[in-house]
Amino acid sequence: MNKVLFFAHLRDEVGEESVTIEATGKTVAEVKALVAEQYKLQKLDSAMTAINEEFAPNDEVIKDGDIIAFIPPVSGG
């Protein structure tokens, strides 16, 4: 199982700071699609992904116990 953390507006849209899902063996891109569908998120494509607090590209494969974080880049200044 994998813990998924949400930052900024993603947290508001999901309604929780974190959820637990089964993402082992899936790529980051697949997990993004899965989570976006499950929680009706529109903008997960442009979110950056950290696995165990390290930046992970879209083709990275998730291992059991990995903690996934989605961090949406924001533009305000």
Binding site: A8, R11, I71, P73, S75, G76
Partner: protein, 339 residues
């Protein structure tokens, strides 16, 4: 060395030598809003040699809650932010050569300004300009510091050409988000926290303490008490078109830029973003209504109106801004609402 910088030179990583280095440097700040105000004030007080600040907007009442250089008088006079910032910064430290530029930070303008610049501090409100800054940074080998905030959330990342990944490695494309300070709000402390991260990095770079430069991507939410530091050791993309082996500097290319045109006789500016991911119109309609806009729409477009602001937004991200022929003003409204 005057007494003025004594507390800063007492700090060993800066010292008298570091102060001399700061004094010889030229910092370019793009944007004079909340981040631009704060970044410029810290760098000016720190005694930089020369500071150039660029902004296309003017001071409004809704800026005063967080944009620390401006006063009610600036609002009453509708002063351009760059001009109001220059006036205040000169009053803070007359030893610093302050230059202001009122207008859009286009790739051409950035290339022109980049000549003798040692560091660029991002204080813009949109990713198109950030991607252009990112390409200029790689092309001219100038470090830059990304910073952004919305609501109680903020983030920062330092890009050092030849060493760190660049913004294009991380984002690959310009994200359209529909969440900006104008739609989701912003609190002063989130601004200040980003400024603290950006200016600490700036001082490290100005004194050339490269070892101390932060390599992680930091993000935080001051209201939710979250702080995250994302390691970036594997983020550099060798195929990146901005910093990789075969560079094209795509965001200096007109094709990747927002196209604007004044529609003759209609008092309207058209704005067309490049390679847009599209806009969720019903989501955007909700946000605009919350701001007090009167919104009408259909599946293809929405039209919104509040006081003198009138515009139509299409699903592909294209917008018609009515009631103006001023491209900078139209782009400013567009970026404030769509990021």
């Amino acid at each position: 060395m005057s007494e003025r910088y004594s507390r800063q030179t007492l700090f060993p990583p800066i010292g008298k030598d570091g102060q001399e280095r700061i004094r010889r440097k030229h910092v370019l700040i793009i944007g004079a809003g909340a981040l631009g105000s704060g970044n410029a004030e810290v760098i000016t007080r720190a005694g930089v040699g020369k500071l150039t600040i660029v902004d296309r907007d003017y001071v409004e009442a809704s800026n005063l809650q967080r944009q620390q250089l401006y006063t009610e008088e600036d609002v009453a006079e509708k002063l351009p932010k760059a001009a109001a910032a220059e006036k205040r910064l000169k009053a803070i430290n007359s030893e610093v050569e302050i230059r202001s530029m009122i207008g859009d930070a286009t790739p051409e303008k950035l290339a022109e300004l980049a000549g003798d610049v040692d560091l660029i501090i991002d204080s813009t409100d949109n990713f198109e300009t950030r991607m252009a800054i990112n390409d200029i940074s790689q092309k001219f080998e100038i470090p830059w510091i990304y910073g952004a905030c919305v609501a109680s959330f903020g983030m920062s990342f330092t890009v050092v050409p030849g060493q760190t990944p660049c913004l294009n490695c991380l984002l690959k494309t310009i994200p359209i988000q529909g969440m900006t300070c104008d739609t989701a709000g912003i609190i002063g402390p989130a601004v200040q926290m980003v400024i603290a991260h950006q200016t600490a990095e700036a001082l490290k770079i100005l004194v050339e303490d490269w070892e101390a430069v932060r390599t992680s991507f930091v993000s935080f939410d001051l209201w939710r008490n979250q702080y995250s530091s994302m390691k970036m050791s594997r983020a550099k993309d060798p195929g990146c078109l901005s910093c990789g082996e075969h560079r094209e500097y795509p965001y200096l290319n007109a094709e990747n830029m927002t196209k604007t045109s004044v529609l003759c006789g209609r008092d309207t500016v058209q704005i067309r973003p490049p390679h847009s991911e599209g806009v969720d119109l019903s989501d955007m309609a909700g946000k605009l209504k919350a701001l007090g806009y009167e919104v009408k729409g259909n599946p293809y477009l929405l039209s919104a109106e509040m006081e003198t602001n009138r515009f139509v937004l299409f699903q592909d991200g294209r917008a018609l801004i009515h009631g103006t022929k001023d491209i900078a003003q139209a782009k400013s409204l567009y970026n404030r609402l769509l990021g």
